[in-house]
């Protein structure tokens, strides 16, 4: 398959939306942080590529669509091709550090792209 950012996002959401653990994580409205990190065996600490504060405001129907758009946009804007080459990079998606989904590299695994969603305390309104 010839990958582009839209297809990458679609591939992830297609798997994610059917995972009960993912539904449990994403269906709670509130603030969360999405981050992309490069994990390589040769480097002891993951390298943070990008992170963004988000807020779920929608109901379930639109959630996955919105999340897909978000992933595609972040892939497009922030992540270098070497970190998002789905043929050579294993993709891991985590919710609060727990692995929700892993998509192994189809060619040879050189490194991982870790997409982590972390729930944050909702800010107090003043």
């Amino acid at each position: 398959m010839k990958w582009n950012d839209q297809k990458r996002a679609e591939a992830i959401i297609e798997r994610l939306e059917h995972l009960p653990q993912a539904c449990g994580f994403f269906l709670r409205q509130g603030y969360f942080l999405v981050s992309y990190s490069r994990v390589a065996e040769t480097v002891p600490v993951p390298i943070l590529l990008y992170e963004r504060l988000c807020r779920f405001e929608t109901r379930t129907g639109a959630l996955w669509q919105n999340l897909q758009k978000l992933l595609a946009k972040h892939f497009n804007n922030e992540i270098l091709i070497k970190d998002k080459d789905f043929d050579t990079v294993t993709i891991t998606i985590c919710g609060d550090g727990e692995v929700l989904y892993e998509r192994p590299a189809t060619l040879h695994e050189e490194q991982k792209l870790n997409i982590n969603f972390r729930k944050l305390q909702t800010p107090v309104n003043l």
Binding site: Y31, R52, L53, C54, R55, F56, E57, T58, L63, N66, L67, L70, L120, Q121, P123, V124, N125, L126
Partner: protein, 134 residues
Amino acid sequence: MHHMTPQQQQTWNDARRAAFITLKVRAKAAAQKFFSQGQVFDLKIYEKTLGDNIPSVSRSYVIESSSENFWTALEKELTILFNEVPGYAKNFCLIPFQILLNGRTVHNYLPRPTTSRNKVLCISFSRATKPRSL
């Protein structure tokens, strides 16, 4: 409270600390822009020592009310936060303190006499990224 200094006010409590800090911050021109409606910010109260920052309390806020209501709400919130800070760390008569706005010191107070110049109580307001809504 307007003309009060920490030394003149010997009977500090959390509400008075909160009122004092709110007054000082509100008087700064930079605060008008920083504390505008819709902004998200983090408030931290911590002790700064020579080698370390010891976090005490930290919370995130989103400004949803109009200006006048906001300052009242902030004062109430500071009272709650000060209540969580250990007593020795908020002795305004003896411990120097700083108010920081986005990392920049906007108010610096060094009590005389002071117990230590190596320890400073910091009240820090820092702007957080606006969340992307999904």
